[in-house]
């Protein structure tokens, strides 16, 4: 393929170098396109503001679909380069991407969920990734192009907060994204920032599946008194203000934090809790959306081609 790259130390001219770089870029994008064509449904989870539970939603969503008949057919891309949390939440810390003859393989988590995260490439817990935008974009592209995701029914992408390099890269690299799910906490401070995420999704032309209100009220485990720690109803307000579907509210539950820390998705570990029940209803609404969306698509993507 690149036989012409016959460099003898410095025999390579600037023009050739430029041509090589351009070809490499083009090949990278072609590989993204091919890999993504083998994944039927691709959904990003975004927020605008950090710390609202994006990763918790992503992980539990992936688990829910894996449990609903899609075991071994779900992937998660943890696109948070600086603060990857997905491996910790799925009990996969310390794992590494394995390299095979055809490329690097995702790490396999519970129910065969395939996970790719910067965390699998770092030497230690404490190592930060001090990268500017262009490097992050390159890493995300390689996560999509050079990881052998294989054929999957779902890919959930956990994006870092904000509307900068990482979300933009994902939207540009996956133009056929099925939609974004927006997560918020009810506070007004969060609402202000989350509205920007809604506008962002609209401006880049990605369908909005809906908004989830997380950390919505807290019931004292002793006396049952509900305290609206971060208020309640902010998600619903954004949904009606900006005409997007409201997917549901998840109450604050210390078990969610505990389970995340222990690497156990709470919808499995505490399936009977009000939080898990609320989450299950949200998942049903998302399934409904996806069913409807696929139903109205005239041409289904072919997933029959096999990579060699």
């Amino acid at each position: 393929m690149t036989q012409e790259r016959n460099q003898k130390s410095g025999s390579h001219s600037k023009t050739e170098e430029y041509t090589d770089m351009k070809r490499e870029q083009h090949e990278g994008l072609q590989r993204v396109k091919f890999q993504m064509s083998r994944i039927r449904q691709k959904i990003a989870v975004i927020s605008g503001k950090g710390g609202v539970g994006k990763s918790t939603v992503t992980v539990n969503l992936a688990m829910a679909f894996a449990m609903h008949g899609y075991a071994d057919n779900v992937g998660i891309l943890d696109a948070d380069i600086h603060g990857p949390c997905v491996p910790k939440m799925l009990g996969l810390r310390g794992q590494r991407l394995q390299v095979s003859a055809i490329g690097a393989l995702p790490v396999t988590g519970p129910l065969g969920i395939k996970v790719v995260s910067m965390d699998f490439l770092l030497p230690s817990d404490e190592a930060p990734v001090i990268w500017r935008g262009p490097l992050k974009m390159k890493a995300i592209q390689q996560f999509l192009s050079d990881i052998m995701w294989g054929e999957l029914e779902f890919l959930f992408i956990d994006l870092p907060p904000g509307t900068g390099d990482e979300p933009l890269s994902i939207m540009q690299l996956i133009p056929d994204l099925d939609g974004v799910i927006i997560v918020t906490i009810p506070s007004e401070v969060s609402q202000v920032v989350v509205k920007k995420a809604v506008t962002f999704a609209r401006q880049v032309g990605v369908p909005i599946i809906g908004i989830i209100e997380n950390m919505s009220g807290f019931a004292c485990p002793k006396c049952g008194t509900v305290t609206k720690i971060f208020k309640v109803g902010g998600g619903q307000r954004i949904a009606s203000d900006m005409s997007i579907p409201f997917l549901g509210s998840i109450p604050i539950d210390p078990e969610i934090c505990e389970d995340s820390d222990n690497g156990l998705p709470f919808i499995v570990e505490h399936a009977d809790s009000p939080a898990a029940k609320a989450f299950t209803e949200i998942v049903e609404r998302i399934e409904e959306y996806l069913k409807h969306k696929k139903g109205t698509e005239i041409l289904l993507k072919s997933t029959s081609k096999e990579d060699s």
Copy 2:
């Protein structure tokens, strides 16, 4: 070097354009240096993970210093380009940077606190800033170089989560930063990410003032039962694991969210609450650090020169 490229499309040659660009860059950096030389103490608040209360800490810290004898002498730079929260928390939404003959002026908040935020430049609440790294770096540089901060005792910089473009830009543009304050919530998931922030600060050579544990336990307002929603003790653990000072824990308090939403710093509005008391102790430790630091500095920066 490239004198042969003497194209006369716009009378300006490529070489001249390049020289102009370089001169402009150099002048910009000189202006940053001058502006920053007029601010005695510069402190950044970082976190690694989002949603841990960085902006709440920044705003209340600024208020605390303004109340402790530094009214009209404190500034806040909200360096979160995508999710600016500081104006909302200080009741300054909808304000605009005013342009004077010598440059743009910060917006003045309670107790004369001078605030600069991307929010003051946006057309509406809902407008996202869909920018990649280089543009964000440019904006941050201009916030430091082209805003007439004037002479100040303190500048608090609220950084977005992560260890990417914005924190790096600040560290490079303000090499004499007095230190960073790291904010975390107690959960293990947060700890993993916050440790990266500690390593980041060390790698870029900025002193770490200490770590604050936010959202540490919740006391039911009805029965008093304390629930460790996001666990407790994680901040202390990072401090001892990584040998950095522990500044204190702030309990969860619905008033903090309420006050932030209303644009009223909680240390003023609810001065007698356990959260405000915990915060006051933290402020004392920070004051102690700064006193000590300045005491050991042989040469104090001159702040006597006046801009014209």
